[in-house]
């Protein structure tokens, strides 16, 4: 255990990076998911096709491949563009943080597309009709009837998407992001205690997953409070 | 010692679900060949009563003795007792992934170790008894509710049980299918099968039962022959119940 002395700071900052990616990708994932769901539910044929292609592509491709493609692909494009202006530039890349965050958001967003679509379709049309019959405007019906109901339906799978995101952050280490796995790799080369170093990473992720699971459980309880004890 | 030993004996049986007392001090004896109908409002404990007899529910105190064997926690041979006690459920509970024939053969093969051909012969025999041998190779979902319930009865009969328990066998059926099931049950009664039926079919109770039992709030409130039971109910609770049933 004393091998860990001196590395705690690095693990801490690595965890901060993980947390930052998580929050950023969570926001992006919701945006991608909502866009995908709206496209699938729209009447526009092309939008529907594009959304369908989106889900098929990212559900059928390994996550690591998407990350590699986005990072190296964007790097080569950026470098080529930069060389037009300054031939001396050898290599220019999007920071791994952003390439990785974007990649995992797009991937998990493709799963969230189905979740949001299902939640939208899962709202009981009867309660929407009832709200309209009571004289609520379209907007008010959306806010007071649809959103709370969708939220309740989407929450359990949404919790799983959040867990996917946090676990996928580990993949970003392969393009050189200085998160916890990267720290473990460095620490290993210095201390030659790889097991200790990687187990710490495992514990950090377990703590993140637990925090997410507990949060989702709390939210679910809140979202379902009207269903308890009939 | 009684001269004729009762086939089923329940003595001071009590059953709790958490705080809720489902059975209160139940005493009941059933002789071989007797046909008993149990009725009562929902939640009165009538289903729990027969489910205790084959130990789908375990009682908390008192004694239940089936053909000389007491049902206890440390029973090794509960499956042997169960195979002597046939049961028909409200929701049929046919095994959906097996054909009708396989449904009838499964327990014969596994519990009775009956050879395949013989099991098949017995199965077909009982399918004919319930008048649907032509459905043998279909899956349960392909049959109507009434047909499924007849299959469920045949499945129980294949084990040649000494007693048959019916737990509201017609409650889940559309009205036009109730009679085909009651007919099968009536035939069975005529042949001398020992039967305990939880049912609200009062016509069946009147024509078939030797004894009708009325339960309310976990207690046996009244038991009598059908004539007495229907024509001169004693307790107010039974009178009220009869009114509710008849005005239905």
């Amino acid at each position: 255990m004393e091998a860990l002395n001196g590395w705690w700071d690095d693990y801490f900052w690595g965890s901060v990076v993980v947390f930052k990616i998580f929050i950023t990708s969570l926001i992006l994932m919701v945006i991608f998911g909502l866009i995908g769901a709206m496209a699938k539910l729209s009447n526009n044929r092309i939008a529907q096709k594009l959304a369908a292609a989106y889900t098929v592509i990212f559900r059928g491709t390994p996550e690591i491949l998407v990350i590699l493609l986005l990072y190296f692909g964007s790097a080569i494009t950026l470098t080529a563009i930069a060389q037009i202006f300054n031939p001396d530039i050898k290599f220019l890349d999007i920071p791994p943080f952003w390439a990785g965050t974007f990649a995992i958001s797009v991937i998990v967003g493709s799963y969230a597309t189905e979740t949001f679509r299902g939640a939208f379709l899962g709202v009981d049309p009867g309660s929407v009709e009832a709200a309209r019959a009571l004289g609520l405007s379209n907007f008010k019906t959306f806010i007071y009837v649809r959103i709370p109901e969708m939220w309740r339906i989407a929450l359990p799978p949404f919790g799983n998407h959040m867990l996917s995101l946090i676990k996928d952050t580990a993949l970003i280490s392969i393009i050189g992001l200085n998160e916890t796995l990267y720290v473990a790799k460095q620490a290993t080369s210095v201390t030659s205690k790889p097991f200790t170093m990687y187990i710490v990473v495992g514990c950090i992720y377990l703590a993140f997953s637990t925090a997410i699971t507990l949060t989702v459980m709390g939210l679910e309880k809140y979202a379902n409070h009207h269903l308890e004890d009939a | 010692m009684n001269k004729i030993k009762p086939f089923i004996q329940m003595q001071n049986v009590e059953k709790f679900f958490g705080q809720f007392q489902a059975l209160k001090n139940i005493n009941l004896e059933v002789q071989k060949g007797e046909r008993i109908v149990v009725c009562g409002p929902s939640g009165s404990g009538k289903s729990t009563l027969i489910r205790c007899i084959n130990r789908l529910e375990s009682h908390n105190s008192g004694h239940i003795i089936i053909d000389g064997t007491e049902l206890t926690d440390q029973m090794e041979n509960i499956d042997a007792v169960r195979s002597e006690v046939g049961m028909v459920f409200q929701s049929f509970n046919l095994f959906p992934h097996m054909t009708i024939l396989k449904n009838l053969m499964l327990a014969q093969r596994l519990v009775r170790k009956t050879p395949k051909e013989e099991a098949k012969k017995i199965a077909m025999h009982y399918l004919e008894r319930v008048k649907i041998p032509e459905q043998a190779d279909k899956y349960p979902i392909h049959l109507s509710g009434g047909q499924q319930q007849r299959v469920a009865i045949a499945r129980a009969l294949c084990m040649k049980p000494a007693v048959m328990l019916f737990d509201e066998p017609t409650s889940a059926l559309d009205p036009e299918m109730i009679n085909e099931v009651l007919e099968v049950m009536t035939d069975l009664a005529k042949e001398g099968m020992t039967m305990i039926c939880v049912t609200h079919e009062m016509g069946f109770a009147r024509s078939v039962a030797d004894r009708v039992i009325f339960m309310d709030q976990g207690e046996i409130v009244e038991q009598a022959t059908p004539e007495e039971f229907f024509d001169s109910p004693k307790s107010n609770r039974l009178k009220l119940f009869m009114q509710q049933i008849l005005t239905h």
């Binding site: 390994p62 080569i76 867990l163 | 509970n93 279909k138 979902i141």
Partner: protein, 232 residues
């Protein structure tokens, strides 16, 4: 343009050379993972706390951490211990290939076990009661009634899990295994043509995904034949 086409053509051929490795990783860990999942499931539904708790803890840990971390702990971490290096498992754990398979088995076992449990929970409890009432023992009820119905109920989720597993095999490339992704990464490092190579590879994976989905669809149809009304 022509250069691109021939580059794609050559590299696709090279990458397909790794498809055998991808399949090996997938099938070996798929089968052994299923076995592990069944053991975990039996532990969870045994009704004995000393079997249930360890199984739950196992599932919690392996579902709560990234599979890449699990693979790294096995590949980089375990050799820290001398007793591992002296054990009979060393020939397996010394190689990236062995570590990848062990990691995939341990990980998918946890996920699949939860999927199977979902299937078991979905089986109508009345059927078990009907089995009891006929005198079937607990073991007979599980084998002949619960298990076959649960298997069918779990199949759609299981097919998604196998697709996940297939995608996870690509992680083996991070510990020196030359599966399709490993080969692709080498080619990209040499040619610096990430678009051509990675996109071609993505398409290969998508085709595999498509076939997995189709096959499971067939199996579902077959196993679920008793759930369909006859055509009238």
């Amino acid at each position: 343009m022509n250069e691109s086409v021939s580059l794609i053509f050559d590299s696709v051929l090279q990458m397909l050379g790794g498809i055998g490795m991808t399949f090996q990783l997938m099938f070996v860990s798929g089968i052994l993972g299923l076995l592990l999942a069944i053991i975990l499931l039996l532990m969870r539904i045994s009704g004995k706390w000393y079997l249930n708790w360890p199984a739950q803890a196992y599932i919690y840990v392996f579902r709560g951490t990234p599979i890449l971390v699990q693979i790294f702990i096995i590949y980089y971490g375990l050799p820290q211990f001398e007793f591992i290096r002296d054990s009979i498992f060393w020939p397996i754990l010394r190689e990236g290939y062995g570590c990848a398979i062990v990691g995939l088995i341990l990980n998918s076992g946890a996920y699949v076990s939860e999927i199977l449990r979902g299937g078991v929970i979905g089986v109508n409890p009345g059927l078990g009661e009907a089995g009891s009432a006929l005198g079937l023992s607990a073991r007979q009820r599980f084998i002949h009634i619960t298990a076959p119905i649960a298997a069918r109920l779990a199949l759609p989720a299981y097919s998604n899990e196998i697709i996940s597993l297939m995608k996870s095999t690509a992680l083996a490339s991070t510990i020196t295994v030359m599966d399709m992704t490993g080969i692709a990464r080498t080619i990209v490092a040499e040619t610096y043509a990430p678009y051509e190579i990675f996109i071609s590879l993505a398409i290969i994976y998508m085709i595999l995904t498509f076939f997995i989905q189709k096959s499971f669809g067939r199996i579902e149809n077959f196993l679920g034949r008793y759930t369909k009304q006859l055509e009238i």
